[in-house]
């Protein structure tokens, strides 16, 4: 096989998994860079920075960032992180690599489609990045791209021209890539399992990829509709989302009858399930890692599966809670609120089961385990504020404040990132044959763990004080003056936390050749990715400390214990 076929246009699920992971890795550092720049600007709005002028000569002339540039960075940070990091790495990256290994299949069901889905995703990323280099620069309307301002073109702002068009095209391509991936995941898991691998013997990781693939399948198709209608409003002069009498920058638009709220419905019908596409694979990984390093079976395996399905299902009927302050009928707001709070039940079941899994176990507190424990901590901290935001009365105060920013970063942003780290440390020996450095890993973990709490918990206080989000500059508002110190603290914590990620990056590449050698089954785990060409499966996925067994773990493909 030529180099190109083997490593670039490969149809091998492992190569594609690594390609997805590397794409997400590149994207996450772009996203982190944007967030650091934004934090810097919020704390030092007057500072002149050569780098800004060099990077964005039009929108940062003289080195001072314009509000338009701030908004475009915010938009790109959100879009890159949600789509190209949090959706790409846990689902497409680890899923592609480990689904066939964990269910004993040779490869994914449709290898060519699999290759195509990666390349579509990569093109989507390049199209998105191209928005920075076109006239007017990157879009300003946030990762949610609400019309009317996203639908009227450059009269709404410099980046709302071609930049916003590229954004819509990129997201549509990303949807297509994700749909191809979802079809592959579902088919592979349903039809290509090795003999004996009944559904209820699948590792929870496989279940979580399955649930996330189902959610993708139903959600992304609806986002495509929203994207196409938005594109037509922008390019073909239609009025799907543009109401009559729209006056923007002193220009009266000719549109008539459109409904901006319609876009919000289409967007959040996708957007809320999307957060579960992000977090559910993390739940699967964390369940496995907690079990392996507690040397105990996952507590309540069946309940975990049912809880994941309930979360996925409920996720489709709660989208209205993103629209409490958009002019929704108050009665439907109550319905959405009750359904939203209901998600607390399966989430609590999962949390309870994670704690019960480690309860009384022989804990091995290595770095993968630390990240998994960190995930549980963040999931609880971020989940509790969801109960506040899920109530229309409270949300009318919290909406569009930093309270929301703190909430979703904890539960969806960094919780998912912690799961990615747990997965990276746990599976690195499988992919490379070597361990990641435990010493660097511990420094990385503790600084990041304290760092993310140091960044996002204060944001809740800022939100309580009424600090609005998406503002490029707070200095001119008297009621926010008292929060300057708080924001400086957040900024400096963000700098430290971002810097320590470089340590991880170094470790990730350094250890490929220099890491400590790992054996075939370094964690003494039971699932099939650690086995040699398993011919059949004889037991469930988490048989640790089985009474009467001579070892403390029995692999799924072992016949006798």
């Amino acid at each position: 096989m030529s180099f190109l076929r083997r490593y670039v246009f490969s149809t091998d699920h492992k190569v594609i998994g690594i390609q997805y992971y590397l794409l997400a890795l590149f994207a996450v550092f772009v996203g982190i860079a944007f967030s650091v720049i934004m934090r810097f600007h919020l704390s030092y709005p007057e500072a002149k920075v050569r780098l800004f002028e060099w990077l964005w000569p039009a929108t940062a002339s003289g080195g001072v960032m314009t509000p338009e540039l701030y908004l475009s960075l915010m938009t790109m940070h959100g879009t890159i992180m949600v789509f190209f990091v949090l959706t790409t790495a846990p689902q497409s990256g680890f899923g592609n690599y480990f689904i066939p290994l964990q269910i004993g299949a040779e490869d994914m069901a449709f290898p060519v489609l699999n290759m195509l889905s990666f390349w579509t995703t990569l093109v989507a990323f390049l199209v998105l990045c191209a928005a920075f280099f076109v006239e007017g620069g990157a879009p300003l309307s946030g990762w949610t791209a609400y019309p009317p301002l996203s639908a009227v073109g450059s009269i709404a702002g410099p980046g709302q021209g071609l930049g916003q068009t590229l954004w819509v095209v990129s997201i549509a391509l990303f949807c297509a890539g994700s749909l191809m991936g979802a079809i592959n995941f579902i088919t592979t898991i349903l039809d290509l399992r090795v003999a004996g691998m009944s559904l209820m013997r699948m590792p929870l990781t496989v279940w979580s990829w399955f649930v996330a693939a189902l959610i993708s399948l139903f959600a992304f198709a609806v986002l495509i509709v929203g994207g196409v209608l938005l594109l037509l409003d922008r390019e073909a002069g239609t009025s799907f989302f543009l109401p009559a009498g729209l006056l923007i920058n002193d220009r009266l638009l000719p549109n008539d009858g459109g409904s901006p709220l319609l876009f919000q419905h289409l967007f959040w019908f996708f957007g809320h399930p999307e957060v579960y596409i992000v977090i559910v694979p993390g739940m699967g990984v964390v369940s496995t890692v907690l079990s392996v390093f507690s040397r105990k079976p996952v507590f309540g395996y069946k309940a975990m599966v049912i809880a994941m399905f309930s979360i996925g299902l409920l996720g489709f009927i709660v989208w209205g809670h993103h629209m409490f302050s958009s002019g929704l009928n108050p009665y439907s707001a109550i319905a959405f609120s009750v359904l939203t709070l209901a998600i607390g039940t399966p989430s609590a079941i999962k949390t309870f089961n994670w704690i019960a899994t480690i309860w009384g176990g022989q804990l091995r507190l290595n770095v993968a385990m630390l990240w998994a424990l960190g995930f549980v901590s963040l999931f609880v901290s971020g989940g509790i504020t969801g109960l506040y935001l899920g109530q229309p009365a409270l949300d009318s105060y919290f909406h569009d404040t930093y309270f929301v920013v703190g909430h979703f970063h904890l539960i969806m942003g960094v919780a998912a990132i912690f799961a990615i780290f747990a997965a990276t440390y746990y599976w690195y020996p499988k992919v490379t044959g070597r361990y990641l450095s435990e010493t660097i890993g511990r420094i990385h973990f503790y600084v990041t763990f304290l760092g993310v709490y140091g960044i996002f918990i204060p944001m809740h206080y800022a939100g309580l004080a009424g600090n609005p989000r998406r503002y490029a500059d707070f200095a001119q508002y008297d009621f926010l003056k008292d929060l300057t110190v708080l924001h400086k603290f957040i900024t400096h914590t963000a700098f430290t936390t971002a810097a320590v990620q470089l340590l991880f990056l170094f470790s990730l590449f350094w250890c490929v050749r220099r890491g400590r050698l790992a054996g075939e089954n370094p964690w003494q785990a039971t699932t099939l990715e650690w086995a040699h060409h398993p011919a059949a499966v004889h037991r469930g996925p988490y048989e640790y400390s089985v009474p009467g067994s001579r070892k403390d773990f029995v692999m799924q493909n072992e016949t006798a214990s």
Partner: protein, 187 residues
């Protein structure tokens, strides 16, 4: 270890069902957008449906019937009849696409543009989205014809034809649904 052919066949069907689920979600999202946009609009103008639409429907139905006949011929091992019927089904599918383009021209001549009224925009979008899916199906059918000419199909190797036929019927049903949707809500 290559998976057994039975597994491949099952996987092809599962993949198809998953794909169809996402197509259904696309058109469900499209329909809900139409219903919501229409409900709140004072500007909704009916689309003058060209009579050609019934001709179109008949052509697509005939194509589906021929595809089904071809599928059964192949299962019985009658390759000659399969080739004829399958080619006819494909041709009828292409004819449908040609007639669709004519239909869009007639609408344009009747003064219905994307930007003139949102009802027309929905009509164009829905029919174009359907046509794109249909073009994909027609391409798959042509590919299968190519494989049939190379004698690669038979009673034991008919998964491609079975799956393509299922997809073809689905597109027919989807077309009937779209015509109904536009007939009742946009005409």
């Amino acid at each position: 270890m290559q998976p057994a052919s039975g597994v491949k066949r099952r996987a092809s069907y599962t993949g198809l069902y998953a794909f169809l689920a996402s197509v259904i979600m696309f058109f469900a999202g499209f329909s809900s957008a139409l219903v919501v946009r229409r409900a709140g609009a004072k500007d909704w103008k009916p689309v003058p449906m060209p009579d050609l639409i019934w001709m179109n429907t008949a052509v697509l139905a005939a194509s589906s019937v021929m595809a089904e006949k071809a599928r059964r011929d192949l299962r019985k091992g009658d390759r000659t009849r399969f080739n004829a019927a399958w080619a006819l089904a494909t041709l009828l599918g292409c004819l449908f696409l040609y007639l669709q383009v004519q239909l869009w021209y007639r609408l344009r001549d009747a003064g219905v543009y994307m930007e003139s009224n949102v009802s027309g925009a929905f009509f164009y979008l829905g029919t174009i989205a359907h046509a794109i899916h249909l073009a994909g199906g027609a391409a798959a059918m042509m590919y299968l014809s190519y494989r049939a000419v190379r004698l690669e199909l038979g009673p034991g190797r008919r998964t491609g034809v079975d799956v393509a036929t299922f997809y073809w019927h689905f597109l027919g049903v989807l077309w009937v649904y779209l015509v109904g949707l536009f007939w009742f809500l946009a005409a």
